[in-house]
Amino acid sequence: MINAIKLTNLANMKKIILSILCAGSFFAAQADVPTITGAGSTFDYPAFTKWFDAYSKVDGSVRFNYQSIGSGGGIKGLTSQTVDFGASDAPMKDEAMAAAPGKILHLPIVAGGVAVIYNLPGNPKLKLDGEILAGIYLGNINKWNDPKITALNPGIDLPGTSIIPVHRSDGSGTSFIFTDFLSAVNPAWADSVGKGSMVPWPVGVGLGAKGSEGVAGQVKQLPGAIGYAELAYANQNKIPYADMKNSTGNFVSPTPDSVSAALATAKVPEDFRFSMVNAPGEKAYPISGASWVLVYQHPKKAEVGRKLVGFLKWAITEGQKLSPSLDYAPLPEEVQKRELALLETIK
C-alpha cells in the first residue's frame, strides 16, 4: 500500500516536472530573435556593453549576451563550443588552437595602454624605463632615491623611502601586457619570471591586490607604492602615472593616441597574433596591448555566424569611434582593412 502511494506521488511529480519543462520550451520557442553569446576578457567588457547598445540601432534583429568571465574562460567556452565568440587579452597558443574543433581566427578589437601608477609626496611627474621597472618588481631597486631613478628625473627631489611594488593577484590581461613588456626589455625578467596573465611574482617583493580597483586602491593608500593599471582606472582615480621610455628613447605618456601609435607601428602578422609592447614608433607608448575576439572560421550555426560577422564589421570600423571615450585606442585604418578582409573568409 505504501508503495502504491509512493508510485502515484512519483507519477504526479513527473507530470509537474514535464509541464514545467514544456512551459520552458514554449517560451524559448517564442523568442526567435537570434542571440549571439560571447564570453571572455573583462578588459573588453566596457567596450562590448557600449557597442551592443549602439549596434541595436543599426541591426535590431539580433541580441547579445556577453559574460566577462576572464580570457581563460572565454577560450574554454569557445573550444567547448558553448559560446559563439570568445574574447581574450592574450593570443591563443598553438597547442590550444590545434586542440579546438575548428579553425579559430584572431581579430584585434580594442587596444589599450597600461599606466604605471605611484604614490609619492607632492605627486611629481616621473620618467621611468623598462629596466628600472623590472628592477623594482624583481626587488633589486628598492628605494625611491636609487641612482637609476634620480638619473632619469633630475629636477625631482625623490625621498629615500622604500618602494612597495603592487601587482595584480588575479589572472589578468593587464598583467599579461605588463609582463610582456618587462620580458621584452629585460632578459633577467624574461628568464626568472616570464610573461603571462599570472606569473610567479618574485616572493617577498611587494604585494598582490585583486582587480584593477584593488591595485589602484593600494597604490593610492600606501606611501611609496608603485603599481600598474589600465589607463581608465588611473584617470578615474586621479592617480599620477609615469612617462615611459619607448624603444626610440622618447618618454611617452599613456593616451589613446600614443597607444594607437604603438599599434600602427607594431609588426602585425597575417594571423593577427602579435605583441605590440615596445613598438618602434617615435610616439608609441611601450606598455600597450591589444585584445582579441576569437571566432571559428566555419561557425556551427550559420545564421548566428552571419549576424556575428555583421556586428564585428561594424565594431571594427564604426565602433572604433566610440573607443577613445572609454580610454581605448582606436584601431588604425590599415589594420581595420586587413581585418575586414579576414572577416570575408568566415562562412
Binding site: 581563460g72 590550444a96 588575479d170 589572472g171 599570472m198 616572493v203 598582490g208 591586490a209 585583486k210
Partner: protein, 342 residues
C-alpha cells in the same frame, strides 16, 4: 521550565546537540514515544527526513569526487610533492600548495584567538548579566553583523581597516612587542594579521549566536544551586554555567573555525596575496580559497586548472582534518561534563 528548554534545544545545530551533555535525556524521551507502526504519515516523515539528511553526505561525497576528478592531472604530475612545495609558477607549470596551507591555517588561528574571547564574553553578558530590555536589541545587532556580505566587509577592510592598522595599531604593536619575530619586519597594512582580523569580525556573530543559545539552555536549577551555596556571580558563571556548557561552546567555536577556513572574498582583499612563509604577521600571505578565487578565471591550459582543483581538494581535506583533530581534542581535554541532576 524543562519544557521550555526542550523547545529551545530543537533549534540548535545538530552537532552542537551531539556535544551537549543534556541530549542523552532527549534521546531517551524519543525511545519512550509510542511506536509509529501502522501510521503511514509518521513512517513517511521518518524516511523523508532521513533522505534529506543523506543528501548532505551525498553532496559532500560528490564534491570530493568532482575535486578528485578535476585534480587528476596535477595529482599524477606532482604527487605528495604538491603539499610540500612552495613553487607557484603558472608560466612554467610548477605548482605547490604549502604557502597557501600555511596562510589558511595562520589566518584562521588568528581569527579564533581574537573572536573566541569576544564571542563567549558577549554571549555570557547577553544571557547572564545584561538587563532584559537590552538583550533583544543587542542580539539583533550581532545577527545583523552576520548578514553583512563578505565583499562589503572586504572593501571596508581595504579602505578603512587596513589604513588604520597601518598607521595606528601595527606601529604600536611593533613598538611594544617588536622583540617578538611575529611583530617584526616592514609594515604594509595588508597582511596575514589583517586577514585574520577581518575573518574574526566575520565569525564573531556565528560563535556568539550559537554560544548564546547554548548558555540559555543551561538549566536555571544549575545557577540557583550555585547561588544557594553562596557563590558570587562570577563563580556561578564559571562553575555552574560555563563548565556545564563547555562541550557545546567548543562546538560553537568549531562552527566558527569552519567558516574561517573557507572564507574567501574579504580575506583576498586584505591579506596581500603573496605566497610566502614568513615569521612576521605583518607580511602579506595567501590562502587556499583566495588563490582559487584569484586565478581560476584566467587559468588556461590543462595542468593549471587541475592544480587549482587540487588546491580545492586540499582545502576540503584541511577542513575535514581540522574538524577531526578538534573532535579528538574535545574528547581528550574537555572530559565528561557535569551530568544534569534531574
Amino acid at each position: 521550565m524543562g519544557r521550555e528548554q526542550d523547545e529551545e534545544r530543537r533549534f540548535l545545530p545538530l552537532f552542537v546537540l551531539l556535544n551537549f551533555p543534556d541530549t542523552k535525556m532527549a534521546n531517551d524521551s524519543t525511545k519512550t514515544m509510542p511506536p509509529a507502526s501502522g501510521q503511514f504519515g509518521d513512517r513517511a516523515f521518518k524516511w523523508l527526513t532521513l533522505a534529506m539528511a543523506l543528501v548532505i553526505f551525498v553532496l559532500i561525497g560528490l564534491i570530493g569526487i568532482e575535486l578528485f576528478h578535476g585534480s587528476r592531472l596535477a595529482l599524477q604530475k606532482f604527487g605528495w610533492h604538491f603539499l610540500t612545495s612552495s613553487d607557484w609558477d603558472p608560466v612554467n607549470d610548477r605548482y605547490g600548495a604549502l604557502p597557501f596551507i600555511f596562510g589558511t591555517l595562520i589566518s584562521s588561528v588568528i581569527a579564533l584567538v581574537i573572536a573566541v574571547p569576544i564571542s563567549i564574553a558577549t554571549a555570557v553578558y547577553l544571557t547572564e548579566l545584561a538587563p532584559v530590555w537590552l538583550r533583544q536589541p543587542l542580539t539583533m545587532f550581532i545577527e545583523l553583523l552576520a548578514a553583512v556580505p563578505s565583499v562589503i566587509l572586504g572593501l571596508w577592510g581595504i579602505f578603512v581597516m587596513v589604513p588604520w592598522l597601518r598607521v595606528h595599531l601595527f606601529p604600536w604593536l611593533q613598538k611594544v612587542f617588536g622583540f617578538l619575530p611575529i611583530f617584526g619586519g616592514p609594515i604594509y597594512g595588508v597582511s596575514v594579521l589583517a586577514g585574520g582580523i577581518i575573518v574574526a569580525i566575520m565569525i564573531v556573530p556565528i560563535i556568539t549566536s550559537v554560544s548564546r543559545e547554548i548558555l540559555r539552555s543551561v538549566p536555571g536549577l544549575q545557577r540557583e544551586a550555585a547561588y544557594a551555596l553562596g557563590a558570587t556571580r562570577w563563580e556561578v558563571t564559571r562553575i555552574a554555567v560555563l563548565s556545564y556548557a563547555r562541550k557545546g561552546l567548543f562546538g560553537a567555536v568549531i562552527l566558527g573555525l569552519g567558516r574561517a577556513l573557507g572564507e574567501t572574498m574579504a580575506v583576498t582583499m586584505v591579506i596581500g596575496n603573496s605566497p610566502q612563509i614568513v615569521k612576521s604577521l605583518f607580511a602579506p600571505g595567501y590562502t587556499l580559497a583566495s588563490v582559487i578565487a584569484n586565478e581560476f578565471n584566467e587559468a588556461t591550459g590543462d595542468l593549471y586548472p587541475s592544480a587549482l582543483f587540487e588546491i580545492g581538494l586540499v582545502l576540503l581535506a584541511v577542513t575535514v582534518l581540522v574538524n577531526i583533530v578538534a573532535q579528538l581534542l574535545l574528547k581528550t581535554f574537555a572530559g565528561p561534563s557535569v551530568k544534569p541532576q534531574n
